[in-house]
């Protein structure tokens, strides 16, 4: 124990030094920018210097030892495991998307803030210490040992792959976006640069390398997240502590909202959007004739223009519109349906930032409330069931350190989630007070810059030359990415934000890849397929699989699948339904047996997938399936499908376990070992 303590002090010194060097680097780049270093070079410096840093850690921590590779030799002190978990946990979506989601949905977005932190209470109280006492390598490992046989292990592996793969694709996609926006690489090239960045950490050194890289990445991402909003806060209130002073800014936002929402021009713009939605609805009702009419209308227009002396540019616009018309009635219905929803949303009465559960009447408000609570529930249980997070608690030296480590994890995660709502409020204040109502010809430069990459869109629907609130569309990612420019900060801060976003995406991708490769190589290959395999061979298989999964993930990400970012939120529901009941029953209910657990996991997972697919999609064009949509049960949105899955999972485990014989004595002893420390009687 003594030397663990000494190591911890030495590590602390290293990482303090490292943080100092990083801050110095940012300052040096800032000074260089002042003397004329072009932004592109600042972007390159951040991108390559950080990746070289991660690669160095990755190479230094290379290992050929199984325990080092899977669980970092179980020597990670609590506080560093906490930081690593923080980086592991906070993904590209947390870093870039959360503040924007809060900007767009106000109070309702806080479900993510609560869900993604409150889940750690469940990790701490119900799972982490017991998993650490069990002390093996993966989550399916626990299920396999606890329930006996290969069935529980295999279902676990399937759930790991299902929940983690989509997630990893989204991270690689995020890397592609960041590199293409900030250093001007082509998106596909960016994806593969990111892939290299991910592989240099995890390939050689496994969990050990990933852990120390994640600690380094945590420092970068948290500095990058807090600095811009602290400066924005200083600008708006004179205090650089956004988390504590945004209450008064929120009050100012409320005043601005009251004024803006009822502005006559604003009402006019919203009415026009509602009319547009109605017009599209009309067109959908008249399918397939309306599609034909639409094509004729455009052709006629083009002919008119060609016969007149119109500019070529105008003709090209209409020709493109005609070319991009839906091919058939089914496609038209899908596309117009979403266009109608967009228009209707912009025409709807906006909600005050702090209003909870908005709605026109009591039942709408109740529905909003039920959905908020259901989402919080799913995110919490999903957090407590995502394998790449739970894995991290295998890496601490003792059970005691595992408990402390959850505390540190939550503490480090909190720093970001405390700041995200402040980001949203400060950005809203800047935009409502400085941008809305100004002339469209004289908007600030950041709006033009970000409209070029499609994250900001402006449409002067009422033609008054001024920007109304309803006319401005923001992609959630833009809030964090553009804050440095909104606050008028030097480009070096934008580069810092990009480095932070990159760190968030890379660290999560590393953890996920290792989890997938670990489940496939350890659980499927070693435990089921070839138990006699040698250590070297196991590591070789694990590294090969890691490479295969990573390349597969990058290939999918390079296709730019639009729905992938949306599907990430499903991972929480799927993980919650598949793992949470089986893990908790495995520890707290000795009577739970194999039949119960396997059927419970399957029922929970399949019900969740069934629900979210049918509620979310009416058609899956690439499978040629149409008309499968269904009305949600009790109005629960698809993102909270886990509510049904978890409930069904628990009920199935209990009922099936009670109907079948109790588990063997050896299994019950296993549960006792997980529950109680070795006692000297």
């Amino acid at each position: 124990m003594r030397d663990v303590f000494d190591v911890s002090i030495r590590l602390r010194r290293y990482f303090t030094l490292y943080t100092g060097v990083f801050v110095a680097l940012v300052l040096v780049l800032g000074v260089l920018e002042h003397f004329g270093l072009p932004p592109r070079w600042i972007g390159y410096s951040f991108l390559f210097l950080t990746i070289i840093l991660y690669a160095t850690i990755g190479v230094l921590a290379r290992t050929a030892n199984v325990s080092e590779y899977y669980v970092a030799g179980r020597r990670i002190p609590a506080i560093f495991n906490g930081m690593a978990t923080g980086a592991d946990w906070m993904s590209a979506a947390s870093f870039m998307g959360l503040a924007g989601t809060l900007y767009l949905s106000g109070y309702q977005g806080l479900a993510y803030v609560m869900g993604w932190t409150g889940g750690y209470v469940l990790v701490a109280l119900l799972l982490a210490p017991y998993l650490r006492r069990f002390g093996q390598y993966t989550i399916p490992d626990f299920l396999g040992e606890r329930y006996g046989g290969n069935a529980a292990r295999l279902v676990g592996v399937a759930a790991v792959v299902l929940a983690s793969f989509v997630y990893v694709v989204a991270q690689i996609y995020g890397v592609g976006l960041i590199t293409s926006r900030f250093v001007g690489l082509q998106f596909e090239v960016g994806v593969f640069v990111g892939l290299a960045g991910i592989l240099v950490c995890s390939f050689l050194g496994g969990m050990r390398a990933v852990t120390w890289t994640q600690v380094a990445q945590y420092v970068i991402l948290i500095v990058a997240y807090i600095v811009p909003v602290a400066m924005l806060s200083y600008k708006a209130t004179g205090l650089p502590l956004p988390q504590f002073v945004y209450g008064e800014v929120l009050a100012k936002v409320e005043v601005l909202e009251t004024r803006l929402f009822d502005d006559p021009a604003e009402l006019e713009a919203r009415r026009l959007y509602r009319e547009r939605a109605d017009a599209i609805y009309e067109r959908i009702l008249n399918l397939p004739d309306s599609l034909h009419e639409e094509r004729q209308r455009l052709s006629q227009k083009i002919n008119e223009l060609k016969n007149g002396d119109a500019r070529m540019r105008d003709i090209v616009v209409y020709e493109r519109q005609r070319r991009e018309l839906p091919q058939n009635a089914d496609e038209a219905r899908d596309r117009w349906d979403s266009a109608m929803h967009v228009a209707a949303e912009r025409g709807a009465t906006p909600t005050h930032h702090s209003t909870a559960y908005p709605g026109n009447d009591e039942s709408e408000r109740n529905l909003a409330r039920v959905n908020f609570l259901a989402l919080v529930f799913c995110l919490m249980l999903g957090t407590a069931a995502l394998p790449h997070v739970l894995m991290r608690y295998y890496t601490t030296p003792t059970v005691r350190e595992a408990r402390n480590s959850v505390f540190w994890s939550l503490f480090f995660i909190l720093l970001l989630y405390f700041t995200a709502p402040a980001y949203a409020v400060f950005a809203k204040f800047e935009i409502y007070s400085g941008v809305i109502g100004s002339s469209i010809a004289e908007l600030p430069a950041w709006i033009a810059a970000w409209s070029k990459v499609g994250l900001v869109a402006i449409e002067d629907i009422n033609g008054d030359g001024l920007l109304q609130l309803a006319e401005l569309t923001l992609n959630p990612d833009v809030i964090v990415l553009a804050t440095p420019e909104i606050a008028g900060l030097p480009y070096v801060i934008s580069g810092l934000v990009a480095a932070g976003a990159l760190a968030a995406a890379l660290s999560t991708a590393d953890g996920l890849l290792l989890t997938i490769a670990g489940a496939l190589s350890h659980d499927v290959y070693y435990k089921i397929y070839r138990p006699q395999a040698s250590t070297q061979w196991r590591l070789l298989v694990s590294k090969t699989l890691l490479l295969v999964v990573a390349v597969l993930g990058a290939t999918v990400a390079a296709q730019k699948p639009a729905s992938i970012l949306f599907m990430v939120s499903w991972a929480f529901s799927i993980a919650a339904a598949a793992f949470f009941p089986a893990l908790v029953c495995g520890i707290f209910w000795k009577r739970a047996n194999r039949a119960g657990a396997v059927s419970g996991m399957l029922v929970g997972m399949l019900l969740t997938i069934y629900y979210l697919v049918r509620v979310q999609f009416d058609s899956i064009p690439w499978l040629g399936i149409h008309g499968i949509g269904m009305a949600p049960w009790f109005g629960i949105q698809s993102v909270s499908a886990g509510v049904w899955g978890v409930a069904a999972g628990f009920v199935t485990i209990v009922v099936v376990s009670l109907l079948t014989p109790p588990p063997a004595r050896s299994i019950q002893e296993f549960v006792e070992q997980v529950r109680y420390p070795q006692m000297r009687v």
Binding site: M1, Y107, L110, A111, V113, M114, T117, G118, Y120, V121, L122, A124, L125, L126, P129, Q243, F244, G247, E248, L250, A251, S354, T355, A356, Y357, R365, R369, F372, L373, V376, F377, M380, T398, V399, R400, R403, N404, V406, F407, L410, F411, L414, Y417, F418, P421, E669, E672, R675, Y676, P677, Q678, M679, R680, V681
Partner: protein, 87 residues
């Protein structure tokens, strides 16, 4: 091996602490959020209370729950002479 009285007592105390803390977690997460509209009528630190609870209040309480659990269980381990540092 059959469980000793000591082990059973240890487990019972573990369960009591966990259950108490989970109750607090539940109240903060779900009961307080359920009444968010009503809580928004009050103001704390310049925030509407319902908004504050979801954005900061509940997060602070979560950290305390996790920290207190670690403290309690580590103490319990020492009390039963099973903490890993004195083995």
């Amino acid at each position: 091996m059959p469980l000793t009285r000591k082990q059973e007592a240890y487990w019972r105390r573990n369960l009591t602490v966990s259950a108490a803390l989970l109750t607090i977690w539940f109240v903060v997460s779900f009961v307080a959020s359920f009444f968010a509209r009503e809580l928004n009528e009050f103001t704390v630190f310049g925030f509407p209370l319902g908004f504050y609870m979801a954005a900061q209040g509940s997060l602070i309480i979560y950290v305390f729950i996790v920290g207190y659990y670690a403290y309690c269980m580590n103490r319990l381990d020492r009390e039963y002479g099973v903490d890993e540092e004195h083995r």
